[in-house]
């Protein structure tokens, strides 16, 4: 089990590396530099800024620095290696290990990307938790109920609602809610900034909207998984030996039927994150998702890249957590 966990956790490293390299390469192809303003800044200032943030160095590797160091007669392989690796990308990677994403270009270097993430992510995390809790607390019981009463009106209604929930993107639901609430009922779903500080009512509506997609997937999967378990021999045996129905459901059906549910929590994490980008802008939530959208509009490349990597690492970790949980619940997986 320890080997399995370790292998899974270490798998995050190459994933994040590849994501970082691709994002870095793409961001470098983007036209316009970090210092582009309406009024062009003088070349000397630009050179100073470039030097200060290391943007005058080569992008991937620095053979020039290696040669210079060797010409100076250095033989220490560590010093030589450091000179060779003194490039924009490798320095960026090195700083990443220390959770340093560099300065936000939009703020002209007065704030760092990690400061913005630190300030804004808690709001997004709270929103995501509300969405996830809502999806799990409502979705799983609904799925169980639908499976136990297969082909009843509960089942049909639940299936209909969850199909719509899977198919209709959450941002459409958010937009419709925004329009219906504020135009028909005159209640603006938008909140004042200070209302986001604790974990207040403000989180309820955007949290529910965010959780709807996950909820729909959970309902469908719970239902189909339980329908499968319901027909298995061990459940029939449990009934045959005279167990009370509640006992059969809880001990024999749910225990087995809910294992596959764990697997959707990985994709669910990704969906909550990407969903939060949209839901936060629509409901004006001061979280990292909205900050990301602002960074896109402002072409703040360092912020876009930092947030992308942060999100990617988060999703990769969520997937690892799911794999580990699944391996713990179902020992057959560990050998795969």
């Amino acid at each position: 089990m320890l080997r399995f966990v370790l292998r899974r956790v270490l798998w995050v490293v190459p994933v994040v590396l590849v994501v970082a390299a691709i994002t870095f390469a793409l961001m470098h192809r983007a036209p316009g530099g970090p210092w582009d303003r309406v009024k062009p800044i003088p070349a000397a200032t630009r050179a100073n800024l470039d030097a200060k943030f290391g943007l005058d160095k080569p992008i991937w590797i620095n053979p020039g620095a290696l040669r210079a160091e060797r010409d100076r007669g250095t033989v220490n392989p560590f010093v030589l290696g450091r000179a060779f690796a003194d490039s924009q990308f490798l320095n960026y990677l090195g700083n990443l290990v220390l959770f340093d994403f560099g300065p936000s270009y939009q703020s002209r270097g007065t704030t760092t990307v990690q400061e913005i993430i630190g300030a804004k992510f808690p709001v997004s995390a709270k929103l995501g938790m509300v969405g996830l809790v809502f999806a799990v607390v409502v979705g799983i019981p609904l799925g169980v109920l639908a499976a136990l009463r297969q082909r009843s009106w509960v089942d049909h209604l639940t299936l209909a609602v969850s199909t719509v929930g899977v198919a209709v993107p959450s941002f459409v639901i958010a937009i419709m809610l925004l329009i219906v609430l504020s135009r028909r009922f005159g209640v603006s779903p938008l909140r004042r900034p200070e209302e986001w500080d604790g974990l207040g009512r403000a989180y309820l509506l955007p949290g529910i909207v965010l959780g709807l997609g996950v909820l729909a997937v959970l309902v469908r999967l719970t239902r189909s998984s339980l329908l499968e378990v319901k027909r298995q021999d061990h459940v029939r045996t449990a009934r045959a030996k005279g167990l009370a129905e509640g006992m059969v459901v809880r001990r024999h059906m749910l225990r087995n039927g809910l294992i596959p549910i764990v697997t959707v929590l990985g994709p669910a994490g990704a969906e909550l994150i990407t969903g939060s980008i949209i839901v936060e802008t629509i409901f004006n939530v001061p979280g990292l998702g909205r900050e990301f959208v602002d960074a896109i509009a402002a072409r703040d490349y360092s912020m876009i890249m930092g947030t992308t990597l942060f999100y990617a690492a988060l999703i990769a970790l969520a997937n690892v957590a799911v794999d580990v949980a699944y391996g713990y619940l179902d020992p057959r997986i560990r050998r795969a």
Partner: protein
């Protein structure tokens, strides 16, 4: 044999009752697998409704110039009025009161919303269909090769697949669009080419895994062994024996690619990094639902239909695609992926 069994008519997970024998089956006439699947698909009313809606949408997209009541690009604030309400909405300002000449109202520069919606179906259908074809063209060969050859090739291809799978799709789309949107390549066809490429290069992992799984199972099947011992080359074995039998899960997975791509276009449009609107009066692709959502979101308080119309169009289309996908899954008897 397991693979053949997967295609045999069998009660689906949703319906444990035995399929009643009717018509040809009762008379003992042989029925084809495809005919069976089609029969089951036809019984699913939602799937038929979804398919009918999609056919209708293709018609709308093809005959957009004949259907659209106005030119979708002409801006004429003096006649059309900016932010004119939908036809059935009264407004204190006579320039903004709804008129059936502009059934869903007009946008900020007096363009007819319904006409733009009708033309927008073209982009959404292209975006839903073309990347799906590209994804199949990448994913199916990778899955086949990995599954059939196994060993080192399989290990390598699957590690690549794992890494690509872990890259959060929407974030990658955003990075691609931001980075390449203003390059020469990004400007081709107002960004449509870039968008199609963006949506194609990442999402093949699901298909590759499905195909690999089916191939792993099929290559042990007796009929594949028979073909090989009969002297069939690798290309023939894969093309004639493995691939046709692995198609069912691929068709189902492919059916779910389209709604994902359409939603992605809408989200990128909403973020302002999707397709750029074309201002030429005779542009074949003057608008997309994504960019309409972008415009509508900035004006929903003055002209709500600018936002409601494209959002509903996206929602209905993805719903129709999902119904068709669900119908195909049940008809081809593919189990829901985990």
């Amino acid at each position: 044999m397991a693979a053949r069994a997967a295609l045999r008519p069998r009660p689906t997970t949703d319906d444990p009752r035995p399929t009643p024998l009717r018509g040809a089956a009762r008379l003992g006439t042989p029925r084809s697998l495809r005919g069976d699947a089609w029969r089951r698909f036809r019984r699913n009313h939602l799937a038929i409704a979804g398919a009918a809606y999609l056919v209708l949408l293709v018609g709308v997209a093809a005959f957009a110039p004949a259907i659209a009541p106005q030119n979708p690009v002409r801006t004429d604030v003096k006649v059309a009025g900016a932010y004119r309400q939908a036809a059935w909405v009264e407004d204190a300002n006579p320039k903004r009161t709804g008129s059936w000449e502009y059934p869903l109202g007009t946008d900020s520069v007096g363009r007819d919303v319904l006409s733009r919606l009708v033309y927008g179906a073209r982009v959404s259908l292209l975006v839903g269909f073309l990347p799906a074809v590209a994804i199949l063209a990448i994913g199916v060969p990778i899955g086949l090769v990995a599954g059939y050859l196994g060993g080192l090739v399989d290990g390598l291809l699957m590690r690549i697949t794992d890494v690509v799978y872990a890259f959060p799709a929407l974030l990658f789309f955003i990075v691609m669009q931001v980075a390449l949107g203003e390059t020469r390549f990004g400007g081709m066809l107002n960004g449509l080419v870039l968008l199609l490429v963006t949506l194609s290069v990442l999402s093949w992992t699901g298909i590759a895994r499905v195909v690999r799984g089916a191939t792993l199972e099929l290559k042990e099947a007796e009929f594949v062994l028979a073909a090989r011992s009969g002297g069939a080359g690798i290309g023939r074995v894969i093309g004639r024996h493995v691939l046709p039998n692995a198609l069912a899960p691929v068709i189902v997975a492919a059916a779910f690619l389209a709604p994902g791509a359409i939603v992605a276009e809408a989200i990128l449009g909403y973020l302002g990094i999707g397709i750029r609107p074309d201002v030429a009066l005779d542009a074949p692709l003057p608008s997309s639902w994504g960019t309409m959502i972008f415009d509508g979101y900035r004006a929903w308080q003055s002209q709500a239909w600018m936002l409601i119309a494209p959002s509903l169009a996206v929602a209905l289309t993805t719903l129709a695609c999902t119904f068709v996908g669900d119908g195909l899954r049940d008809a081809l008897d593919v189990r829901e992926g985990r």
